[in-house]
Symmetry: C2
Subunit: 324 residues, 2 copies
C-alpha cells in the first residue's frame, strides 16, 4: 500500500461528519457560532514524545491523554468544552498507530460531546498539540486570581499516583503489582474533571488544574490572588500505594510525588468557608471525592503542616517542562 498523504491522513483518521460546527475539517479554517451570553474559553497544550508520554505507550492512551490535558484546562476555568483542533508531527504514517490514537482521542471527545474541527499533520519528531475551545457564561469563569484569606482549599480525587507510576517506570521506587495498575492508569488515562469545573461556577473563588504538582499550581493561584496558604498534609487525599510509601523508607520521594508530582489533572480550588458544606453534596452527586486540604491566609507563600503539626521544610517544587 502506498503511504498516505497528509491530506489522506486527516481524511481517513480525523475527519467526521460535522456536528455543531458551521464548518469542520476540510477548509482553510473551521467556523463555529458561540451560544448567546457566553464567552469563548481557549487553551493550547503541547505534548512531546519522551517527555509527556513514551513513544512506545499504547497509542490509544496517548490519544486520550492528548485531549485530556486540554479538557482539564477547560475544567479549571469552569468552561464547557465544545471544539478541538489537533496539530501533530509524526515520524511516519503508521496506520495502526494512527487508528488507535484516533480511537482514544475520539472516545474521550465523544464522552464530552467535543467535536474535532481542525487539524494539521506533518512529518517530524512525534509532537502533539491540541487547542481546545469551550464556552462559559460571560463573567462566570473560574480565574486563578479570586482566592481570599479565610477561603478553604479543596482538591478533587487523589494526588501523586501519576508521579508514583512515573517514578516506578524510572526505577526510583518499586510499586506492587496492584498499586502499579492504579497508578499507571492515573498517568496514562487521566480523567479531566469537566463536570466539577462547570458545577463550581458561582461557588469557587479560584481554581486551577494540577498538571505540574500541587505546590507549584497552588502557587500560581496564590501569586495571582496575592495571598498565601496553609496546607494540612494529612488531609491531602492519597491512594494505597502513597499511604504505604509515606510510612516507609521512601517517604521523601513519596512526599515529592504527593506535593509536587505532575500529571494528576485533579482540580484545586478555593471556596468561601461558608460554602464548604455544599461540597459534600456535590461530591456525592458527581461520584467524585472532594477533600478540604487547607486554608488561604494573607501571609505569602505555602506552609505545609505535617502529621505532627510541624511545618515541612524544603517544599518540593512544581514540575518544570524545561528542567533537564
Amino acid at each position: 500500500m502506498a503511504a498516505l498523504t497528509e491530506f489522506e491522513v486527516i481524511e481517513r483518521f480525523f475527519r467526521r461528519p460535522s456536528g455543531s460546527a458551521t464548518l469542520g475539517i476540510g477548509d482553510d479554517a473551521a467556523l463555529v457560532a458561540l451560544s448567546p451570553g457566553c464567552e469563548l474559553a481557549v487553551s493550547v497544550d503541547m505534548l512531546v514524545s519522551g517527555r509527556h508520554f513514551f513513544a512506545n505507550d499504547d497509542p490509544e492512551s496517548i490519544g486520550h491523554k492528548t485531549l485530556a490535558v486540554n479538557l482539564s484546562d477547560m475544567a479549571a476555568i469552569g468552561a464547557t468544552p465544545r471544539w478541538a483542533l489537533l496539530a501533530g508531527a509524526l515520524p511516519e504514517v503508521d496506520t495502526v498507530w494512527l487508528a488507535a490514537f484516533a480511537r482514544g482521542l475520539f472516545a474521550l471527545a465523544d464522552a464530552h460531546h467535543v467535536e474535532l474541527i481542525g487539524g494539521d499533520t506533518t512529518r517530524g519528531p512525534l509532537t502533539l498539540s491540541v487547542t481546545i475551545l469551550g464556552e462559559v457564561p460571560t463573567g462566570q469563569a473560574l480565574l486563578r486570581s479570586g482566592a481570599k484569606p479565610g477561603d478553604s482549599i479543596w482538591v478533587s480525587g487523589r494526588l501523586g499516583d501519576a508521579a508514583l507510576a512515573l517514578a516506578h517506570a524510572q526505577r526510583q521506587l518499586a510499586l506492587h503489582i496492584e498499586e502499579l495498575a492504579a497508578c499507571a492508569r492515573a498517568l496514562s488515562m487521566p480523567i479531566p474533571r469537566v463536570a466539577l469545573g462547570e458545577r463550581l461556577r458561582g461557588i469557587a473563588t479560584a481554581a486551577i488544574d494540577i498538571s505540574d504538582g500541587l505546590t507549584g499550581d497552588l502557587g500560581h493561584v496564590l501569586h495571582a490572588s496575592g495571598v498565601g496558604a496553609t496546607i494540612d498534609l494529612a488531609a491531602i487525599p492519597r491512594g494505597a500505594a502513597m499511604k504505604r510509601l509515606l510510612s516507609g523508607a521512601e517517604r521523601e520521594l513519596a512526599l515529592r510525588c504527593l506535593l509536587a508530582g505532575g500529571d494528576d489533572y485533579e482540580l484545586c480550588f478555593t471556596v468561601p468557608r461558608g460554602r464548604d458544606s455544599s461540597l459534600g453534596d456535590l461530591a456525592r452527586e458527581l461520584g467524585l471525592a472532594l477533600a478540604r486540604i487547607g486554608t488561604i491566609d494573607d501571609r505569602a507563600g505555602i506552609v505545609v503542616r505535617d502529621e505532627s503539626g510541624r511545618d515541612l521544610a524544603d517544599l518540593p517544587r512544581g514540575f518544570d517542562h524545561f528542567a533537564p
Copy 2:
C-alpha cells in the same frame, strides 16, 4: 544566569498587557468575547524545524513565518484575525533566539492587531504550532466549495519564488544574487493577504491560500466545488528569476516551482465573470497585483495550457508534508 523555567519563558518573552481579550496569558485558558453578528474562524498549523524552516534560519523570520502561515488561513476564509495561541517545543532556552523569535512574531501580530492570548512551551525537538482565531460576519466566510463553471480564477502576487529559493538552497538550481534576495524573502517572510481576504467577502465564490502549490490547492477547491479548471500558463504571475528559468534549460524544474511550489501564501480565488472588472480597482486600492489565470469549467480536473496553447502533460503534484 540560571536557566529560565517554562513559566518564566512565557512571562518574559510572550506575555504582554491584555488588549481586547477578557483574559490573556496567565490562567488555565484565555477568554474572549465575539463581536455581535460574527462567527469564530479557527485554524491551526504546525511547523517543524528542517521541514518548514531551517534551524539556523534567522529566528526573527521564523517568528514571522510561524504566525504568517496562520494569518494566511484567516485570509483564505475571509476572516479578520483577532487572537493567537502559540505552542512550542524548544531544544533549549536560548534567550537571544527567543527574543528575536518573539520580535518577528509580534511585529506581524501588531501589524494585524492580533493579540497573543495563550501559550505552552516545553523542551523538545524544535516544533512550533500557532492557533489563530478570527471573526467573520455570519454566513460570509469564503469557502472552498462555492466555485461555479464559468467563474474566473484569480491569484494574488506572484507564484513560485519561495520554491525557487528552496531549490537554490538545495542546490537544484542557481539563482543570481538579486534574484535570490527576492525569492528568499518570499520563502522566509511571506506576506499573508489578510486585507484581500476581507475584501473578497461578497465577491469571491471560493478561495484558498497557496501553501502547498497552485495545482494542489486549486485542486482542493475543485474537489470541494465539484468542478474543473483550465489554467493559462502564460497568465500565472511570476518574478524575474522565474521568467529567466522558464525560458532556459531548467524549465521543467521552474515549471514545478511555479505550478506546485509550496509556501507562496498567495490567495487563489474564483469570482463570477461579471465581477472581473471590479478586481482591477481592488488591486490598485490594496497595492497588490491580482491576475486572472483561468476559468472554472464543469469537466473534472485541471488543464494547464502552455504558451503555445497546448495542454501540459504530467502536471506536477502539490507539496505533501509526508513526502520524504
